[in-house]
């Protein structure tokens, strides 16, 4: 299933791209699965997602936890630091 993914801040820098459409294997069902898969897909993924505890996610515009199902556009990013 094609999935639109966007990256922000140092995740974007380490991935070398701001967004892409990916086609992960069928057993990639949650945010945690996706992060794990991206970390093993290639070298830049390994760099960006070496520490899953430092990654946050939004799906369809809502902040979600690692257990969330991949049922919309995914954004992956470090903990936010606004204000």
């Amino acid at each position: 299933m094609a999935l639109a993914v966007s990256y922000f801040a140092w995740v974007r820098e380490r991935m070398g791209i701001a967004d892409e459409v990916i086609d992960p294997p069928a057993d990639v069902a949650t945010v945690a699965d996706l992060i794990g898969w991206l970390a093993t897909r290639d070298e830049r993924g390994a760099l960006a997602f070496a520490d899953p505890a430092r990654i946050r996610a939004a799906i369809g515009g809502r902040m979600v936890g690692p257990e969330a199902r991949l049922d919309g556009d995914v954004a992956l990013f470090p903990p936010v630091t606004g204000g």
């Binding site: 903990p79 630091t81 606004g82 204000g83």
Partner: protein, 146 residues
Amino acid sequence: MIRVAVQADAIDVAVELDIHDAGGHGASAIFVGRVRGDDGLAELFLEHHPALTQAGLAALAHVAADRWSLSALTLVHRVGGMAPGETIVLVLASSAHRAEALAATEFLIDRLKTDVMLWKRETFADGRVAWVEPRDGDHDRAERWD
């Protein structure tokens, strides 16, 4: 009246206050966050999401408006590059009495540090570049409002 803005242009606090104050409010609380020039900081860059940063600020503003009795709320966050001393964020909250205006202002500044898609990147005079890490205290302060 709720007004939320995400902008690359400099925040003019006086102009924003004029717009906000047009209704004539009993009590207005103001929070102005500025870029600190610590450790030879040359530029602070705020990265944002093209849609979700604004949506996140608007959602927080509505939570505040539901929780406290506010007559007006203004929330402006700057994005892009800025220099030490420039304004990053402005919160204006008004109510009939001070307690609600002050509480809403503190809630908004605490929660926007943990809930809204914004990321700070620092560039120093010696050329060093670093993404800012969240501070433990920020999370604790935000959780007080749960």
